[in-house]
């Protein structure tokens, strides 16, 4: 058995060292990542200990809460779809066009993200007391009615969808689009056939983010829609109502229902989502 040559030995040591440092790196990252996950899971477990199957069952039995679940799921999905329909053009235009005042528009688009949610609700309430607002109300009652829930959710959710899609379109190289254009595509054909398929992951993320934001939305809804049972009460307001009368157990039970609904829907979208619509795996 010949002794290994010195340079070879050094290379092996270096490889081992680098493998070891790789391991340390991954462990460090896993610990950091795990600490957050641990925090998330332990809050859920703590929640579970604060309630009982009885409370969960009673929450599910209550007609008010079933209505709130239905309204929450329907309104969030509608909000997410509407947000995408508005956010895709906004993000595309902002990524592709240069125009004076673009910085200002960019800042405007961030307003719903920066403003305290209560202020958004209050602003909507004020808007619908102005003459044009009142004119709209004559045709479709908005304030304190179901459309106000959608509008309040949309205001915030759309801003998040725009942010996400903006990053997506910024990352897609304009070259592909230009190639499509030189090959005889119209701008719209290029968008639908080249850009959108490329952006599908971003669109999906934007949609789920909008959906999740809408589900958790609470401040603007409380102000602009109220919390009328069987009318504008969504799950987040149910939690608030139960909390405000000190019924922590029921509040936690409803929160857990929200968590379950959110996880189920997010998983479903991630696995099915646009994949089926586009006819190819992500």
């Amino acid at each position: 058995m010949s002794s290994p040559s010195a340079p070879h030995d050094e290379r092996g040591n270096a490889a081992r060292r680098s493998r070891r440092s790789d391991r340390t790196f991954l462990i460090c990252f896993s610990v950091l990542a795990g600490s957050y996950l641990l925090l998330l899971v332990s809050t859920l477990v703590a929640d579970l200990f604060y309630t009982s199957p009885g409370h969960l069952w009673r929450a599910l039995q209550s007609a008010e809460i079933r209505y709130a679940i239905r309204l929450s799921l329907l309104s969030c999905t509608l909000t997410a779809l509407l947000s995408l329909w508005v956010a895709v053009p906004i993000a595309y235009l902002m990524a592709r066009l240069k125009f004076p005042g673009k910085g200002l528009v960019d800042a405007l688009l961030d307003i719903p993200i920066v403003l305290p949610p209560l202020v958004i609700g209050l602003s909507l309430l004020i808007l619908f007391q102005t003459p044009p607002g009142r004119a709209v109300e004559r045709w479709v009652p908005v304030t304190y009615a179901v459309p106000s829930v959608i509008l309040a959710q949309f205001m915030v959710a759309c801003a998040f969808a725009v942010r996400t899609l903006r990053a997506t379109f910024d990352q897609i190289s304009p070259r592909h689009e230009q190639v499509a254009l030189t090959l005889g595509c119209s701008r719209s054909q290029a968008f639908w056939m080249v850009i959108l398929p490329e952006a599908r992951r971003g669109v999906l993320t934007a949609g789920t983010l909008a959906w999740a934001r809408a589900l958790g939305e609470f401040g603007p809804i409380l102000v602009f829609s109220g919390a009328t049972r069987f009318k504008t009460e969504v799950l987040s307001t149910t939690v608030f109502l139960e909390l405000s009368v000190g019924n922590l157990e029921a509040a936690v039970a409803v929160s857990l229902l929200m968590v379950a609904a959110a996880v189920a829907v997010l998983l479903l979208i991630r696995t099915q989502g646009l994949e089926s619509a586009l006819g190819r795996p992500l």
Partner: protein
Amino acid sequence: MNPARKIVAGSLLAIVVLTALLFWNPRNRPSEAARRPLLVYCAAGLKGPVETVAREYEQLTGVSVQLQFGGSGLLLNNLRVARRGDLFLAADNSFLDAARSNGVLAEVIPLARMTPVIAVPRGNPRKITSLRDLQRPDVQIAYANPEATAIGRVTQQALERSGDWAAIQPRIKVLKPTVNDVANDVKLGTVDAGILWDATVAQYPELEAVHAPELDGSVGEVGVGVLTFCDQPAEALKFARFLGARDRGLPVFAQAGFSVVEGDVWRERPEVVLYSGGVNRVAIEETVRLFEQREGVTVNRIYNGCGILTAQIRAGQRPDAYFACDVSFMTNVASHFGPSRELADTRMVILTAPGNPKGLRSLADLARPGLALGVANEQQSALGALTVRLLRSEGLLSNVMANVRVQTPTADLLVNQLRTGSLDAVLVYGANASGVKGVLDAVELPQPQALAVQPYAVGRTSEHGQLMTRFLEDLRSPASRQRFEQAGFHWRDVTPTP
């Protein structure tokens, strides 16, 4: 179909379907469309009893009651901006006061009174039995923010008076924006104790109240107020009356741990009896009519000479309220009524034919022989009694009475007889003469005994005491004052509405 079209068509279809599902509410019954729903802003802390009462009311009347819950302060902000809705049920009177000073609140129907207590976890693990124990260094308390809440404000004042505030202040671990936040802190064990309304503690089975005599004077009130922009006041007040009825809403509140006020008896359309001196009729008639319309009630008004009215009361008649022509006709039946409030006064006048042909300038002139005079009946009316009292004090009674041709139970009969020319002069209230200004001449009498003061009081045994107290508030309003002054009365109720 290419994938892009599929996405567009699919998502548009989804939007349509979702919208349809949202607007198709299986609970919307057709009967609800016929009657407009009531929008009630309700403090979240009152949710339990109010929901129960509202459901009962919906079943009874078919009117849907939409309850909007939230913190009282938040609701107040909302309704001020939205300027719509019918009723506001606040957690305590501070919010009703704030709503009134913002000009958004009309009538208030009281529901319950609350007293501050020390709240501790059930079983009282820290053995807190008095305010003194709250000053122990091992005790931490949560306190409702005195700037944002009524309980914080009134208890701070009470503790400052009792000299405990300086010692308790260092024990305050946290200031919370609402009483429910304080209650939740005590419930969770974040603090050892808090100061809460007794009614709030009663809603938490995990909490126990420790009575502190120092805090007894600082009562809070739960009430439901009608919003000024409510455009269906009769419907709103009907539900408010239901909430505040001693046989409907109040027992539900009592069961939830509130010490309720003495409310009215529930009637879908209450019918009340108002006794009023004849002289007051012109001044109050319009106010009564508007009150009936707004409240959706029937007020049976009995106008007559106050002597006749008090005789009926002594005979066992129990009007829901009584508006006397003079305090002397209130004192003799005062035991049947609550505290009375003096609203207006009027001075007696000598009313003569146009131009005063007989030159009657003073009471003494009425003693001249050969005059034909009319006065009110002493037994039947306050005016008659006042007339006799006045003449006697001037030493003119027998001489003037010798000229009296007619005595009537009310003054308006005298005015009519004077106008027909059958009398030279009559002794009536200035208020009686306001309708005939320019047609007849009036000479005002300066004597202190010539002043009649009109008090209003609510029947002690009335089943609609709250309703009649609200009518008093209407009588005290600026619009009513104007009607009194137009009718020749002098306004007396100068203290501002509380």
